[in-house]
Structure formats: structure tokens, C-alpha cells
């Protein structure tokens, strides 16, 4: 009986491969897996964030739904799905509806090139790193769209802040990533991991690593760089007018972005899936979650920077240091080779 089904599946699989080609099929299956993974991961991260925040603040955090409250976020997600999607009357509705979709879609693309393990990667493109950063840039556009379309002053202010901030912080982010690229000599994510045979790049590039983490925190609009959605100033910033699952998509995108930047940091600086005893994907996830914990820890410790100070910090401190670091790296690499 079970043999029969397996045989049937094999026949179907071969037919599909013949029809679509293996590459396309792997891509489709990969995307489905990513979609599922993104949701589960975001739910887990929200739960983790609430637990971390709770314990830092001498509270417990969610505890009622499921063991240690792990199912709390699922219940919250269901609640969000069940809520009404309010479209205020004076918004420009096309952009308003498009924005949450646009903020979420590019997030998925980045997963295509993330190396979870030596073989667990959907496509190892030779410009993988560039792809992630390129699609990460769309995030800003959708936030601007949402803020503008909401026809709300708080949302507009949040959107303006977000654009200025992201433009400023993408430069040190790219520059610090570039120093790693100079060392490894490749833009492929697998290639970068393979270049870290033996010593992680964080030991060669501690400054770049720190700059990358700071820039990544700012890119994902996390505290202390959360000025686009600073709740004590701008109510909720660019997503003030969003409700229901549209808000949920922004939320989902934020946490998934967090995962992506942490995953890229792991790949660039912490040796990706490399590690003893455990198989690669485990090491990858452990490193990513440790980084994410650090980001959460920072969020629940510091007050928020002011907008102009944020800009000052990027242009006066981060970019010069990143440029200097890149220069030194390039010189040293030239001398060594």
C-alpha cells in the first residue's frame, strides 16, 4: 500500500521534472518552504522578543497559551486575521493597499540566497549579497508609500524619517559588507562562508562587524533607531492608519527583516553554517538567534535617538570609520597577495 503511493509520487515527481525542469521545481518548492518558514520564524521571534522583554523588565511575558506561552503569537495572528481592514476615506487607496504587500514581498527574495547549510540553499547566485541588499532597498520605498498614502501627518513624518534614515544607514552597511567581500573575493553567499575556513571574519574585521550590526539595527527600524515608528512621538509612525492583517504584514516584515540581517551578519562575519559537532543548519540558526537576541537586548535597554543625532551618527561616525576600514582592508589585502 505505502509502496504504491511512493511509486505514484515518484511518477508524479518525474513527470513534473520533465515538464518544468528541475531548477524551476526546486525554486517553487523552496518558495513554499520559505513562506511557511517565514511565518513560523516570525511567530517565534515575536514570542522570543516578548519573553526577552518580559524577563529584562522583571516580568514573565506571555505564559497562558501553550507551554511558556509559545502559542500566544499564533493566537494573536489569528486575531489580526479576523480584524477588519479599515481603509480610511481620504487615503490614496491603491498605494495604501500596495504598501504592506510591497514591504513583505522583497523579504521573501532574500531567503533564496541565504546559505542555511552546506547544501541547504535554494540558489547560490554569484551576486547573492548584492541581491539581498538590492531587495532590502525596496523596503524603504514601501514604507514611504504607506506613509504618504495614509494621508496622516504622523504617518508622513514617519515615512520621511524612515527614508532619510535608511538612505544614511545603507552606506555604512554596504561599506562594511564590502570589506568582507574584499577579503573573500566573492559576492556569493556560499563563497563567503567557504572563505571563512578556519577563522571567522569577525576576528579580521571587528570594526566592520560592529558597524554592520549597528547599521542593520537601523535598517530594520529597531530601537534605538526606531524613529520612523517612535510611538511616543509619532503614535505608530508610517503604519498609524493600518489595521488588521495589513498591519500584520508590516509586523511580519519587520521580524523577518531582522532574521535576514542577522543571517547575513552570520554569513559575513560569524562563519555561516560552520561549527563543530552539529550539522550546518543548526549552527546557522543558533548563531542567527544569538544575534537576534543581542538586537532585542539592545532594544529593551536604550532610549531612542533623536532624528538629527541619528543622521549625525551615520554621517560623522559610521561612514568615515567604515570608509577607513575598507581602505585599510584593501591595502592590507593588496600587500598580502
Amino acid at each position: 500500500m505505502s509502496d504504491g503511493i511512493l511509486v505514484d509520487l515518484r511518477v508524479i515527481w518525474e513527470a513534473l521534472v520533465r515538464f518544468f525542469g528541475l531548477e524551476a521545481l526546486v525554486l517553487v518548492i523552496g518558495l513554499v518552504v520559505i513562506l511557511a518558514w517565514v511565518q513560523v520564524n516570525a511567530l517565534f521571534l515575536v514570542w522570543l522578543e516578548r519573553k526577552v522583554a518580559g524577563h529584562i523588565q522583571l516580568r514573565i511575558g506571555p505564559k497562558e497559551v501553550g507551554p511558556f506561552g509559545v502559542l500566544q503569537t499564533i493566537v494573536d495572528g489569528i486575531k489580526l486575521l479576523g480584524k477588519e481592514l479599515i481603509t480610511p476615506q481620504p487615503v490614496s487607496w491603491l498605494l495604501f493597499i500596495l504598501s504592506p504587500i510591497m514591504v513583505f514581498t522583497p523579504v521573501l527574495v532574500a531567503f533564496v540566497v541565504l546559505p542555511f547549510g552546506p547544501h541547504l540553499i535554494i540558489r547560490d547566485i554569484n551576486v547573492g549579497l548584492m541581491l539581498i541588499f538590492a531587495f532590502g532597498g525596496i523596503n524603504v520605498l514601501s514604507i514611504l508609500m504607506g506613509g504618504w498614502a495614509s494621508n496622516n501627518k504622523y504617518a508622513l513624518l514617519g515615512a520621511i524619517r524612515s527614508v532619510a534614515q535608511n538612505v544614511a544607514y545603507e552606506i555604512p552597511l554596504l561599506l562594511s559588507a564590502m570589506s568582507v567581500v574584499v577579503m573573500s573575493g566573492t559576492l556569493s553567499m556560499q563563497g563567503i562562508v567557504e572563505a571563512q575556513e578556519g577563522v571567522w571574519f569577525i576576528f579580521y574585521q571587528p570594526v566592520a562587524g560592529l558597524l554592520y550590526l549597528i547599521g542593520a539595527t537601523a535598517e530594520t527600524n529597531r530601537a534605538p533607531f526606531d524613529i520612523p515608528e517612535a510611538e511616543s512621538e509619532l503614535v505608530a509612525g508610517f503604519h498609524t492608519e493600518y489595521s488588521g492583517m495589513r498591519f500584520g504584514l508590516f509586523f511580519l516584515a519587520e521580524y523577518t527583516n531582522m532574521f535576514i540581517v542577522a543571517a547575513v551578519a552570520t554569513t559575513l562575519f560569524f562563519g555561516g553554517w560552520r561549527g563543530p559537532f552539529l550539522p550546518g543548519p543548526w549552527w546557522f540558526l543558533i548563531k542567527v538567534y544569538i544575534l537576534i537576541f543581542g538586537v532585542m537586548w539592545v532594544r529593551w535597554t536604550f532610549p531612542r535617538l533623536r532624528f538629527d543625532q541619528l543622521m549625525n551618527f551615520a554621517w560623522k561616525y559610521m561612514i568615515p570609520i567604515a570608509l577607513l576600514n575598507l581602505l585599510v582592508t584593501a591595502l592590507v589585502m593588496k600587500l598580502v597577495r
Partner: protein, 370 residues
């Protein structure tokens, strides 16, 4: 009005009455150019409950529960002030022990008010965690005060001629344990917040008020002392047992948000000192003067009393015609005057600074509106 001066590049932002950091229902009408504030107009009155009028419609004792509802963070201080005012009018002599007890409780209340301010201010600046630490400490004070007053927020503890109930052992033990605990916590706050580079950047040089400006706008309390004026009614017009106690009046010089923050933090330490001293020399004796009538009738005339509430100068003015009900009741609450300076110091700052300045002034909306 603001509306006539609107140019094409500016727009209005209604900050409040429903906004996360207006601490209630304060409404600030801001005229903005981008994120820079051109003009600010505080609009108050959303939680007006006519407390003064209620005072004119009930007897002196019946009005007592109202006093802690004006400023819900400094309820016991307001009770204390009101009782002192009425006692001054009637010439009631308060037993020594009752005076000590009142002072201890009022100072604990002052600490709890400052703690809540500290937490809420940091939350305005975007740090959520100190808020909960401060609430954890404040919880201890509320529990201690609850042990003796029976209530956690609207105390109604003082009575004309004394206090309602003598201190019990739980109170004494709780306070003894609490003082070192808070001192330790204040050290943590210094590491976590006061020295934090982001916090310093957010508060230093923001919302600077000179001493002259502060006097012009009748700023009182910690806001005035942050400008370098060592004016504290506990020393300037001493009442209760304050002349017998040793404490300093912390002052700063710059008058910016950081100084206002620093003065309040230093005041907490001084209040701890006061509590410690007062409990150390707590005399024995009755806690309530004998022979105070239930329906108190101050002789005809008008009376004024000034009190240093956690937020500044609290003035109580009432006119008596010799009857059981005051003819006129007027409360000069500190937040109302402190708030009005916003329209002077906000123009030229950013929206983020607005929140920092508004928070640093420490307003309690129900007290503004009464």
C-alpha cells in the same frame, strides 16, 4: 490665534488629546515646518471635574477625599497640604507624632511620584525598561502606604488635627527595608540612564530655561530649581517638621531637560534622607488632636497656605464665612503654571524634543484641569 499665520510651508499637528505621550488628555496645537516647531499652544480642560466648585458645596471634611484626586500621583501631599491649610485657619495644634507621620508619608509619596515621572519620562524618550523598574520600586511604596492608609493611590490619610491611623509594624519594617533597596536601585538607574550617551544627547541643552524666564512664567518645584534658583517651600516657608530636619535642596544650573531630570533624581535621595531622619526620631504620643469637631468651622476670613508638592508650589486659598462650607475655594496647582512655559520654549525645537521637554516638565493633567 495661530490659524491666521499659516503659510504654505507649515502645517498644524494636534498632539493630543489622544496621544501616547501626553500623559492623559493634554492637547498641544503645534505649528510645524517639517519637524521644526514654529508655535505651540497648550490646550487644557479635557479632564475638568470642577473640584474647586465641589469644595464650595461640601464641608471641609467632606472635601478631603477630593484633594487626593486632583493630583493622583501626589495624593498624600495634597491631603497634607489641605489639612495644614485648614488647621492654620482654625488654629488647631497637631500632636508631634502626627506631624512626623505626615511628613514621612508625604515624602514617601513624593518619591513615588518622582519614580513614576522617571519611568514615564524614559518611556517618552523611547526606553521602555526603566519604566517597569521604576514601577517595581513604586509598587513597594504603594504597598507600604497601603499598610497604613488602607489605599494605594487616593489616600485620604491626613485628618484635621492629625492622621487617621497610627503607624503599624508593617509600615516601619517595610520602610526600613525599602530605603536601602531604593538607594541600590538609584545606583542602577545612574548606570542605566543618567550616564547613557543617548540619554545625555537627548536631554542636554534641550528646552533650556533661564532663571529669569522661569520667574517670569512662575515656574516652581524641581523645574525652577533646575534653573539654579534654590527655592523650596519646605525651606522658604517652612511648615510641619521640616525646620527640624536636615536635607539639602538640590539645584542645577543649566535649566535644561537633563538638569530637571537630575534635580528630581537628587530629590529622591534627599527625600529618603528625610524619611530616615524622621523615622529615627519618631516621638511617642497621640496621632490626632483631641477636640477637633467633625463639622469644622473656620472663623470668617480668607486663608492661604503654600505647600511644596512633588511638582512645585501648591497654593490653597479659601474664604470662610464662619460656616461649615467654604465660601470660595481656589487651588493654585503647580503643573498649570509649569505647563504654560511650553509656548515659550518649544518654538525652534524638533518634534522629538517636544516630547522630551513636555516629559521633563512633569505635568499631571487632572491637576492642571482640576
Amino acid at each position: 490665534m495661530l490659524r491666521k499665520t499659516l503659510t504654505e510651508d507649515s502645517f498644524y499637528l494636534n498632539l493630543g488629546p489622544q496621544h501616547p505621550s501626553t500623559h492623559g488628555v493634554l492637547h498641544l496645537l503645534l505649528k510645524l515646518d517639517g519637524e521644526r516647531i514654529l508655535e505651540c499652544k497648550p490646550l487644557v480642560g479635557y479632564s475638568h471635574r470642577a473640584h474647586e466648585h465641589m469644595g464650595q458645596n461640601r464641608t471641609y471634611l467632606q472635601f478631603l477625599p477630593n484633594t487626593s484626586r486632583m493630583d493622583y500621583l501626589g495624593g498624600l501631599c495634597y491631603n497634607h497640604a489641605y489639612c495644614l491649610a485648614v488647621e492654620k485657619a482654625c488654629g488647631i495644634e497637631v500632636p508631634e507624632r502626627a506631624r512626623y507621620i505626615r511628613t514621612v508619608c508625604a515624602e514617601l509619596n513624593r518619591i513615588s511620584s518622582h519614580l513614576l515621572w522617571f519611568g514615564a519620562y524614559l518611556m517618552d524618550l523611547g526606553a521602555f525598561t526603566p519604566f517597569l523598574y521604576a514601577f517595581d520600586d513604586r509598587e513597594d511604596i504603594l504597598a507600604i502606604l497601603g499598610e497604613v492608609t488602607g489605599s494605594r493611590l487616593t489616600y485620604s490619610y491626613c485628618r484635621f488635627g492629625g492622621v487617621n491611623r497610627d503607624l503599624n509594624q508593617n509600615f516601619l519594617d517595610g520602610t526600613k527595608a525599602f530605603i536601602p533597596k531604593l538607594r541600590k536601585r538609584l545606583k542602577d538607574y545612574r548606570t542605566l540612564v543618567t550616564k547613557n550617551i543617548i540619554f545625555l544627547n537627548r536631554t542636554k541643552g534641550i528646552g533650556t530655561v533661564s532663571a529669569e524666564l522661569a520667574r517670569d512664567w512662575a515656574l516652581t518645584g524641581p523645574n525652577l530649581r533646575a534653573c539654579g534658583v534654590a527655592y523650596d517651600l519646605r525651606r522658604a516657608e517652612p511648615y510641619s517638621i521640616y525646620p527640624e530636619l536636615e536635607f539639602e535642596i538640590p539645584t542645577a544650573t543649566a535649566g535644561d531637560c537633563y538638569d530637571r531630570y537630575w534635580v528630581r533624581m537628587a530629590e529622591m535621595e534627599q527625600s529618603l534622607r528625610i524619611v530616615e531622619q524622621a523615622l529615627g526620631r519618631l516621638p511617642e504620643g497621640p496621632v490626632k488632636a483631641a477636640g477637633v469637631p467633625q463639622w469644622i468651622q473656620p472663623p470668617a476670613g480668607d486663608y492661604h497656605f503654600s505647600y511644596e508638592s512633588p511638582r512645585g508650589h501648591l497654593g490653597i486659598y479659601f474664604v470662610s464665612d464662619g460656616g461649615r462650607v467654604p465660601l470660595r475655594m481656589k487651588w493654585r496647582t503647580p503643573s498649570f503654571s509649569n505647563l504654560s512655559i511650553l509656548s515659550e520654549i518649544l518654538p525652534g525645537t524638533l518634534v522629538a524634543d517636544t516630547i522630551a521637554i513636555l516629559g521633563s516638565i512633569d505635568v499631571v493633567i487632572p491637576e492642571i484641569d482640576r
